[in-house]
Symmetry: C2
């Protein structure tokens, strides 16, 4: 729980990425008014960090054209850390102008993916991050900067990604001045042994600058990988309501870990997320209203909460 979390009952921070990662990956564009209602519902469920959009040219991602409007609205929600993705310095400037609390910058660990995705080498991306940190320091020192190391556990282009290179990249990003370095299983290739080993190595290298685990459920291992990350001390987890986003595969084999299932797992384990399961499931309503016909996922919403389920968050709230 790094900042702006005025609810003291959470043991882990669930960082909701659906409004960015999810909406960016579907063809339809959710109207701004629907996005605002969805953000309100996510906040009402107790989520205290939301990636509301990305600051990229609207011609590339028209779904994200209203990012500044979303930031301005989300800033009014009490206790919320308003995060946005930026690919470069220009995007960071726009995000800071809009008033974000936190910026996240994707940096590929895979040399092949970095060139294919942003036409920059990894070293050039570290320099871009350094420039963003300097801009932040000069103009908005209260804003947090996170680097998210993508393809940290494998790459669909080059296959294996060297763990040594991931650790070195994390160290370079920390040295460049970011507040947090997260690790992303962009391609759904991680396994729990690797997750434990790599997060442990990154923690040994950069300590409490180690950030979120961003796991994908492509091969069904999303929750097992989150558990593995928790086991070695990770306390921030990215997830997407309804598993929205990043699904190049078959139905159910979505990209992102489903927020509802992740929150259920932690709460059932007695680990408080600060999130109310009932309100979280209710937040699927505005998502579906804004994206009619889009399939959303989630085993816990479909099965329902088990008889006798005790929410750690609810217990803690009544102490």
């Amino acid at each position: 729980m790094k900042q702006r979390n005025d609810i003291a009952v959470a043991d882990v921070l669930i960082s909701e990425v659906g409004p960015r990662d999810g909406l960016q990956s579907v063809k339809a564009t959710m109207p701004t008014a629907d996005k605002l209602r969805w953000l309100d519902a996510l906040h009402a469920a107790g989520l205290r960090e939301i990636e509301v959009g990305s600051f990229v040219p609207a011609r590339l991602l028209p779904q994200m054209a209203d990012a500044a409007d979303l930031v301005r609205h989300a800033r009014m929600l009490p206790g919320l850390t308003v995060m946005a993705l930026v690919p470069n310095l220009r995007g960071a400037q726009a995000a800071l102008d809009a008033g974000v609390h936190k910026i996240t910058i994707p940096v590929s660990a895979s040399a092949a993916h970095s060139l294919a995705n942003v036409r920059k080498t990894r070293e050039e991306m570290v320099e871009e991050v350094r420039a963003i940190v300097q801009l932040r320091d000069a103009t908005a020192p209260g804003v947090a900067v996170e680097a998210g190391v993508s393809t940290a556990f494998g790459c669909t282009l080059q296959g294996l990604v060297s763990e040594d290179e991931v650790v070195r990249l994390a160290a370079a990003l920390a040295k460049a001045g970011v507040n947090e370095v997260g690790l992303s299983d962009t391609t759904g290739m991680a396994n729990p042994a690797q997750v434990r080993r790599l997060f442990q190595r990154v923690m040994d290298e950069i300590g409490d600058k180690t950030g979120a685990a961003h796991m994908h459920n492509t091969r069904g291992l999303g929750l097992a990988n989150c558990l593995a990350a928790y086991d070695v001390g990770v306390r921030t987890f990215d997830a997407s309501l309804g598993g929205l986003g990043g699904c190049p595969y078959a139905p159910g084999a979505s990209g992102n870990v489903v927020t509802e299932d992740l929150v259920f797992m932690f709460e059932a384990m007695g680990i408080a997320t600060g999130v109310d399961m009932g309100r979280l499931i209710a937040a699927r309503g505005p998502l579906q209203a804004g994206l009619p016909g889009e399939t959303i996922y989630g085993m816990t919403p479909e099965a329902g909460l088990p008889k006798g389920f005790i929410s750690r968050t609810r217990e803690a709230a009544h102490v």
Copy 2:
């Protein structure tokens, strides 16, 4: 790896329950000839323990009427432990007559579920197990007897199930003479913290008589719960090819852990299962041929193996 496993390369035993647990749960009856082809394909994939059927009156479960034929066929597959479920002494006699290598008997930890399911109290079931052990000792001393504690992690009828009662039941079953006591999340209510705690307590109580983890994926936690069980020392895992079986919920929210995803998780972690992923996925063919129109699941078969994937079983086989 308790018995009859002539392949020395496995670190864990994947016990395939699809032909019993899966086929018992679907409406259609797979023709015997298709079942035999499916068993051959499962064995060819490297699976070395298969629950081939259950010995119950054919009027109750017509899908299982050919159990004796399946046992006789499966006994010819080299290195295979041929297992069958029996609900009582009469079923055990039939299973022993057919020539099984291993019997598994479900015993409910939930008082409510035990009465509803088999119209016996838990104490009466322990006596039934004791009678089966005596029959085994007298007539087929080489046959293993497993008790599977169902509803060990919660019950849809009574909600919470006391962990003390589960441990006491496991101890009583061990004292009754079974070789192994497994724990089943019959209702998909388990969480990883509970799995670790309860398996650890059972191990402390009955040591190496602790048997399989039988996890369900109802709320998406199946693999995370298997990982948790592995972490505390469990080395036998029940799973069902294609996630067949026990699915009272929505598509994808199946009951049983999907064998393909479980094997993928372990192999990716460097834990040898003895199972060949390619042949395992090929074994979906005879399953689908024998149950046309039945939906089967599995994230790994749909996504495919990741680029650069290394099978621990394949590596070990080449040492």
